[in-house]
Every structure is written in structure tokens, then in C-alpha cells.
């Protein structure tokens, strides 16, 4: 379909935003978990 390729391009920003947020959450979570593991 003619619109199909266009919607592919449109989702690229959403992909970056989603994975960006996902990676941010994982990094923050990992830092907190490391703090927890490091303490006695």
C-alpha cells in the first residue's frame, strides 16, 4: 500500500523514544540495584 512506507518512517521517532526511555529506566534501576547489592 502506498501509505505503508510512510508509516514506517513515522514510527522511527517513536522507536527511539521508546528504547531511549527503556534504556534510561534500566540504567537507573541498575544503579539502585547496585547500591542495594553493595550495602550489607
Amino acid at each position: 500500500m502506498a501509505n505503508h512506507k510512510k508509516s514506517d518512517e513515522n514510527l522511527k521517532g517513536t522507536l527511539y523514544a521508546t528504547f531511549g526511555l527503556g534504556i534510561f529506566i534500566i540504567i537507573v534501576w541498575a544503579l539502585c540495584f547496585n547500591l542495594f547489592i553493595d550495602r550489607f
Binding site: L11, K12, L15, T18, F19, G22, F33, R39, F40
Partner: protein, 165 residues
């Protein structure tokens, strides 16, 4: 149903993260024992001073158990007994605590030791003190007018130092 390629990616990513975090939480809780006190040990809070081990609060060296020391601690408005706890670094310690009156907290700042002490229940926590230092113990459950003054101290010392005392 058509699902966009990118949508498949982030749906898979999200589902994988959900599974990963649940596994970590599960292992922490069931294997490493990271969970709230199980409240299996109950006590008459009006007679705490007469009931062992709370008739002798303090640090006790124990033999033949999975831990080296037992710290028996009684909280009451607005203080902890004992006031100072001293244990050698690297020792495995079991904290056994309860309260004589209202709900108190037992948080050792800068560590993972953080228990709620409820009247009628005994709270326990086992840990290996692997860092030398002085740690402030604070009450983190509002217990009354003197709540802010309610504190104690945990000192983790080198074994050589403690033998001089």
C-alpha cells in the same frame, strides 16, 4: 492482524524486561531472603523485659549457628537498648528486635538493615557486616514526641581493635 516491525521490537523488549525483573525479584525474595519480616515469632509486649532473649539485650557471640553474633535489641519510647552495638567486621550477625510500646523503626542508615518493630512481634534480620564504620540507627516510624531524638549506633570494627577493649 498486522503489527509494525518496530512495534514487535518494543513489545518484545518490554515483555523481556518484565520477565527479567520478575526473575530478579523472585530470586531476591525466595533465594536471598529479601522480604519483610514473616511475623512468625510473637511475644507479649508488656513482658518483653522478662522474656528471653530480651531479658538480656546486647551483642551475644553464638556457636553452632549459621551466624556468629546475635544482637538482641529492645526499642521503647524513645530509645534503643543497647545504645551502642559493636561487632567485628566480616561477622555474620542476626538482629533480633522488638518493641515494648508502640511501633518503632530500626533503620541502620547506609545499609540494607531496615525493620519495622511492632508491639507483640519479633523482627529478625541476618546480614554480614563487611564494611568498617559507624552507622547511625534511627527510628523511621513516627512514635511520638521524642521520635526525632530516638537513635542508636552500630559500630563495625576491625577484629584487632575490638580485642583491645
Amino acid at each position: 492482524m498486522h503489527i509494525h516491525k518496530y512495534e514487535k521490537w518494543w513489545l518484545s523488549f518490554g515483555a523481556a524486561m518484565l520477565v527479567a525483573f520478575l526473575v530478579i525479584v523472585g530470586v531476591s525474595a525466595f533465594h536471598n531472603g529479601t522480604h519483610p519480616n514473616n511475623s512468625k515469632w510473637t511475644i507479649n509486649y508488656e513482658k518483653v523485659d522478662e522474656i528471653a532473649p530480651f531479658n538480656q539485650p546486647g551483642v551475644h557471640k553464638v556457636e553452632g549457628k549459621d551466624w556468629d553474633y546475635e544482637v538482641v535489641l529492645v526499642a521503647s519510647a524513645f530509645s534503643y537498648n543497647p545504645m551502642n552495638i559493636e561487632i567485628p567486621v566480616g561477622s555474620k550477625v542476626k538482629f533480633i528486635a522488638t518493641t515494648k510500646d508502640v511501633i518503632h523503626g530500626f533503620e541502620v542508615a547506609g545499609t540494607n538493615i531496615n525493620m519495622m518493630l511492632e508491639p507483640g512481634y519479633v523482627s529478625e534480620y541476618v546480614t554480614t557486616a563487611d564494611k568498617v564504620g559507624e552507622f547511625l540507627i534511627v527510628c523511621n516510624e513516627y512514635c511520638g514526641a521524642g521520635h526525632a531524638m530516638m537513635y542508636s549506633k552500630l559500630m563495625v570494627v576491625n577484629s584487632n581493635d575490638s580485642s583491645n577493649h
